[in-house]
Amino acid sequence: MSVRLSFVPRSSPIHTLDPRTKLILWVTVAVPAIVSNSVLVCLAVFSLTVILSAVGKVALPYVKNLAKIIIPVFIPIFLIQGLFNPTGKTPVLFIASWLYFKREGLVFAAVLLARLLAIFGGGYLLTLTTRPGDLMASMQKIGLPLKIAYPLFSAFQIVPMIDSRLQS
């Protein structure tokens, strides 16, 4: 773990957007992914967030960091769902006569992966292109009490200090 802000300072049209606009944009792109069970819809939504990250000049950290988190988690998910998902029937790849990957389980894992990227991609793009201070200020404008915003903002100062002490 390294406690660093996701925010990447760049001069881009996405960075200059009001955080509330980005929040609405996130919800707008996440809804089709939540509602739909289609891999294609989810991949289309995720592709849109990748394009937006390119416009925001953060495409590299966006794709790299998501992959860094997703890949180690999804290898066991593909194994478990592919081998043991109760809906699985059609054999795809045999490991033993009693143990084999099933198409339905693999498709289910693929849908999960695509949906997760589509739902959380927009949120991650928001944190990559928004200063936490600006995000807190926007949240206050829409009613977040100062008593909640202040401690969170303080945590951004305190926790990295504790983290650097731990690292050394």
């Binding site: 773990m1 390294s2 406690v3 660093r4 802000l5 996701s6 925010f7 960091n65 998501l66 988190i69 988690v73 066991p76 998910i77 194994l79 478990i80 769902q81 081998l83 043991f84 998902n85 109760p86 289910f108 894992a109 999960l112 997760l116 959380f120 949120g123 991650y124 944190t127 936490p132 995000l135 008593k147 909640i148 202040y150 401690p151 969170l152 303080s154 945590a155 951004f156 100062q157 305190i158 926790v159 504790i162 983290d163 731990l166």
Partner: protein
Amino acid sequence: MAESRSSRLKIEFSTFGIAMIPLMIGINIVSSYLASGTPIWGDTLGSMLAGIIIGPINGLVVGILTNVFKWITFDPFALPYAIVNAAIGLIAGICALLGLVRKETTAPQVARTFGISIVLAVVATLTSTPINVSLWGGSTGKAWVDAIFAAFMAGGWQVFPASMAAEFISDITDKIITFFIAWLIYTRVPLQFIKTLRR
């Protein structure tokens, strides 16, 4: 719980109470970091402490803000689990408010601490299983828990019960260890400090 809701909030969100929140978030982050190589999660220690020392609403806020903090810093998928962390802080705080968490190291208090740990494990399981199933197909991200989940699935269990059983096994381990640590820290906190917080 004789105090009214507004006076309760006034106590929990006094200047000192608010100042404690970032520290408790830090404890959550650091304890989860220290626990990363172990079988437990350890990411609710600060929420439990906030709930016990300051109060249930403060524990709830620490739980939510910890996951918001993680979301903004290093974990884009932490946000939905805010509800789990918040529930732990809230329930630990309610138990303390009911007088079930005391600064005494007697056998009855050890038994109560153990009982509260089990309640917290049940709460964590009930709140996190629907998230695990809808987002990760029932997996949890901890290799040993996923191995138990896979074993249940191989035994013919459906996804939801298999995930819930695996999650409970991991939560019971985690919450017993974490809540005992929280209680031991609480027994070492000077009474004057707690009185200052609640003034």
